[in-house]
Symmetry: C2
Subunit: 188 residues, 2 copies
Amino acid sequence: MARPREFDTAQALDAAVQVFREHGFEGTSAAMLTKRMRIGRQSLYDTFGDKWKLYLSAVSRYSTLETSAHISTLNSKENAFEGIRAVVERVVAEARMPCLGVNSICEFGVRQTELSAQHALAAERLRVPFVKRIREAQLAGDLTSELEPDAVVDFLVTTFSGIRIAARGGADDGKLKALGEIALRALR
Amino acid sequence: MARPREFDTAQALDAAVQVFREHGFEGTSAAMLTKRMRIGRQSLYDTFGDKWKLYLSAVSRYSTLETSAHISTLNSKENAFEGIRAVVERVVAEARMPCLGVNSICEFGVRQTELSAQHALAAERLRVPFVKRIREAQLAGDLTSELEPDAVVDFLVTTFSGIRIAARGGADDGKLKALGEIALRALR
DNA sequence: TCCTTAGTTGAATGATCGTTCCAAAACGGG
DNA sequence: CCCGTTTTGGAACGATCATTCAACTAAGGA
């Protein structure tokens, strides 16, 4: 068996994620993709099917990684509230890079079933550990007990979207930090 | 002077706004526009220049109308806090229709100067009356005085974006209402 | 009725798009 | 060195894109 240089599929997919984050699906051409992925045009089609399938793969990869990052940040602190704060701070810190989740929702709404399914999946995966830590923080008295944990998750996720839009619109870091703080304040 | 049926420019522009709200700039074709605007292709180019200029006109018109609607809702109540709540409720009620402001920011970020300029303009036009009413509500004790009015405006606008994204992603009305309430609660 | 003006529409332009076919190139194991 | 596998890139296809030209229709005022 002969094996010339095989390219790293995951690495190529990561590059595709970057392009889609920046330019969306419609704004991205096959040429832009092959250039950034550093693979030939034919390899792209052989490996990922077509542009739409590649987009779905990119969204899937992105939301898997992003969700995992959220969860591990959430659990990175002993104290539950501090874990939640750390997630907020992470979102603020990374807000300058466009979010593929927000972008894909903006671009397609609920028109593409496969896309919506992925969003729902990621949301659910996020919800479970978040609810857990929110309850914890409520018991510790760091979060108000007036709010349902589920509602708190929804509010946090919504705030994340808002912060990301603000960042994409050019808001400076100070403003983004302030937004995160007010959001946390809302839950006390 | 002879005058055959002239079409209503503002009405046509409103139709264009609708299409762009739903499909974005890249996702909208000239054919989609002429169909919904109910005008001939050539009339489109004669009247609005080209697709990009039409898009800018649409964004401009949308943000002017939307800003005005926000302001008049804000001032529709005697009580300042009730005015602010009314704005939140209006955003929630209309969130099912995509927001052209959010969409254009998502699609272009800060790459298009003319677009960013329009966003900045609308934001400033909104800020002034909002700050006024926020101060009023703070003096009345309905809003916390711990927060800078400017920060409160930023937070509200950010929350609006978040709610609109949530709605575009398929969140039901109950969830959207809850999000609005938590946001208001944050400011007490 | 005829002219002027406004709007429409078919045809064409040139660009770019996604995608496929295919031949050549690159490369590692025998 | 050659074989087999993987990747590449030119060429081409058909579709669609934004946009323009020019001939057409429609309608109100003279």
